[in-house]
């Protein structure tokens, strides 16, 4: 297994996130135009920015949603990139938007509410009860009508059609990010402190992973939901989620492939490879906890994304460069 450069494009600023939408790649820099790349890595469209800063975009095969510091959400069609809707929600910063797995609903953390928009930008639900601003949201991969939000105090799990959360995960701290395992069993939050909180839906049981040297800035479940990789320091920690009690009491796998702090992690959708990128520009591909390929870039790696058939890996860096590698 090796990595071969397939395409490269330069955006205006540090890459906030890269995400595949079918054959297209959506590239969101911290500031400047949001780029849509075509099959050959060519820029097919540049979507308008969001003022002082962009939030993390989200894309489905036929619709891309962008957001940012201007308090707006914009929807554009793919591949034509025609404007579908623009919603001015207010003055608060919108840090990210997330499409549901079926691409029908968009979760937007706006102030202390989690808003759910439809494909036309209409608000179909407003979920409140958050103590502080909603910082991230994650949909249940097994149920496109369930979504989790995180804010100060913990996580809330919501079901479309209901007004109250169907579950709460109150641990009192503050979170930066949230992810739902592909098998639907686990919810994980990456915290403002150097820890991770896990919630086991099977047992209605919270777990706390602590002792990290740094904040956990990247985390990803394997496609089967059996493993959770977390990064923030040079060491990538991989937890086994398969036992009845999950990672509780277990010793994690510790991957020491990097010299710099790892801030981007992505499993290939076929489950074979784990891609990790660090602040020194090193990209490592590993399989079964062993490195199989590496690439040294010039700038800190900020975002990684595999395409659906695990043949292409997009790598965004702190200087706005996006390189698409082909797995060969």
């Amino acid at each position: 297994m090796g990595l071969k450069k397939y395409a490269a494009v330069q955006a205006d600023d540090c890459i906030l996130n890269v995400q595949w939408a079918g054959d297209h790649l959506c590239v969101t820099p911290v500031t400047g135009a949001i780029l849509i790349l075509g099959k050959e890595g060519e820029i097919t469209s540049a979507l308008p920015d969001h003022g002082l800063g962009n939030g993390a975009s989200s894309a489905t095969p036929d619709l891309v949603a962008t957001c940012g510091f201007d308090g707006r959400v914009r929807l554009h069609s793919l591949p034509a990139c025609e404007a579908v809707a623009e919603v001015k929600l207010g003055r608060s910063v919108i840090e990210r938007v997330v499409w549901s797995p079926d691409g029908q609903h968009l979760a937007v953390g706006f102030g202390k509410n989690l808003l759910i928009l439809d494909r036309k930008g209409e608000t179909v639900a407003t979920f409140g009860e958050h103590q502080t601003s909603v910082t991230d949201a994650a949909w249940n991969p097994k149920n496109a009508r369930e979504v989790a939000s995180v804010s100060g105090g913990g996580a809330r799990m919501w079901r479309l059609g209901a007004t109250e959360p169907f579950a709460k995960f109150d641990w009192g701290g503050a979170s930066l990010s949230v992810a739902w395992s592909p098998d639907g069993r686990w919810l994980v939050t990456g915290d403002q402190t150097a820890s991770v909180h896990l919630y086991d839906f099977n047992r209605d049981y919270p777990l706390h992973i602590q002792g990290y040297e740094t904040k956990v800035k990247a985390m990803a479940f394997s496609p089967d939901g059996k493993r959770l990789a977390t990064g923030g320091s040079p060491m990538v920690t991989v937890w086994d989620c398969t036992p009845k009690n999950g990672p509780e009491g277990s010793t994690p796998g510790q991957l020491q492939f990097h010299q710099g702090d790892v801030e981007a992690i992505a499993w290939s959708p076929d489950g074979k490879y784990l891609a990790t990128g660090d602040i020194l520009g090193r990209l490592v591909l590993s399989a079964n906890d062993k490195p199989v390929s590496a690439f040294q870039g010039e700038n800190n790696i900020t975002s990684l994304a595999w395409n659906a058939d695990s043949t292409l890996l997009a790598v965004g860096d702190g200087d706005g460069l996006v390189v698409v590698f082909q797995a060969v």
Partner: protein
């Protein structure tokens, strides 16, 4: 000689409703000063300036490590400033406006307690606007007003045209008694050179002493018309050591969540303490400055300060100091907020007289006790 400091300066603007923050901010945003400034204001704040460089956020407090007041920081600032710091086109300055009723502690602590913030940003100054006419109506009853004055590096006594010179002198003496270190400006319509707000460079104790050797005599000394030049002070930096003696980190492990009924955090040794706002009336905020010509015993001083801040840190808003440690050719510069203390290399003493100065600003400060304890650390 310190290496070039590339950190972006942050000015924290506090003050009660109506003190003149909007006027000052509008001037900063519109005047020609050659700086590109981003302003972070509270979503529900009084200002509501519609300007492309204004970012709205919701004040979001959380405890970083345990229940300690010193670990309460602003999560929204960490996220938004983190995003701003990724920009290729960095801002020259960031200005954070707090709501009139906010305790400035968590904002300041954000830049001390979070490593990323500390690496990329530096506090230029806490600037507190005071309504000279109305402050006396709430200074006795409002802990927030006292805290805003106590935390300040710069105090702007605004609306001076609405009070008599005698009233102003009296007010300034009162404020000086609470905060011996702050630079005080008297203004009307918040008219003062923008550099007095944006180019403070952190409070430089060393420079203050050099320019005004009597500044430690805060109770007698009238600073109302002092012309200290703070405009180009160099901010000490270097290899700050984050001393968080009471918070321990463990190796990676996974365990079942503890009972959260009493404590939100898992650091068992840290008690969850009352935070956010402390309404202890009839408490006086004062400054205590201590000086010793000669060296200190570094170990004794460290032990004493650690114990003092651990036990009394909630009442000590700010600590600043320059210390001469035995056998150390360099000055040690302290800056502290509540229980968090940073020590930095202040450069060689050179030909200057070796002496140690510590200043505490807080409530319940026992001058005699502090003096005695400090003297026990001196040589």
């Amino acid at each position: 000689m310190a290496t070039e400091d590339t950190r972006v300066p942050v000015t924290i603007l506090t003050g009660f409703l109506g003190a003149g923050k909007t006027t000052l901010l509008n001037r900063i945003l519109t005047e020609e000063h050659g700086l590109r400034i981003a302003v972070i204001e509270n979503e529900f704040g009084e200002i509501g300036i519609d300007h492309e460089l204004v970012i709205n956020t919701d004040e979001e407090l959380f405890e970083m490590n345990n229940g300690c007041i010193c670990c309460t920081v602003r999560g929204d600032l960490i996220r938004i400033l983190g995003s701003l710091m990724k920009r290729r086109d960095k801002f020259d300055h960031i200005l954070i406006e707090t709501t009139g009723l906010a305790d400035p502690g968590p904002v300041v602590q954000t830049f001390f307690a979070d490593e990323e913030m500390q690496d990329k940003l530096k506090v230029n100054a806490v600037v507190t606007l005071v309504d000279a006419k109305h402050i006396l109506l709430h200074i006795d009853d409002s802990e927030e007003a006292k805290e805003q004055i106590a935390f300040a590096d710069v105090i702007i006594l605004n609306k001076c045209d609405l009070v008599t010179p005698a009233e102003l002198d009296s007010l300034e003496r009162r404020i000086r008694g609470m905060n011996a270190l702050a630079k005080i400006h008297r203004t009307t319509n918040a008219q003062l050179p923008i550099a007095d707000v944006l180019d403070v460079g952190g409070f430089n104790l060393d420079r203050a002493m050099e320019l005004d050797p009597h500044f430690l005599e805060e109770e007698e000394d009238d600073h109302s018309h002092c012309d200290h030049e703070h405009g180009h002070c160099e901010h000490e930096h270097g290899h700050c050591e984050h001393e968080h003696g009471h918070c321990e980190h463990e190796h990676d492990h996974c365990e079942h969540e503890h009972d959260h009924s009493d404590c939100d955090h898992e650091h068992g040794e840290c008690k969850h303490e009352e935070h956010h706002h402390h309404h202890h009336h009839d408490e006086t905020v004062t400054s205590v400055a201590l000086e010793h010509v000669g060296d200190c015993d570094g170990e004794k001083l460290n032990t004493w300060l650690s114990e003092l801040l651990r036990t009394k840190g909630q009442d000590i808003f700010r600590t600043k100091g320059i210390v001469a440690v035995r056998n150390n050719p360099k000055r040690i510069v302290f800056q502290g907020v509540h229980m968090i203390m940073n020590a930095a290399d202040g450069g060689p003493w050179g030909d200057r007289q070796r002496k140690s100065v510590l200043v505490f600003i807080g409530r319940h400060l026992d001058r005699a006790e502090l003096t005695k304890a400090f003297q026990a650390c001196t040589l």
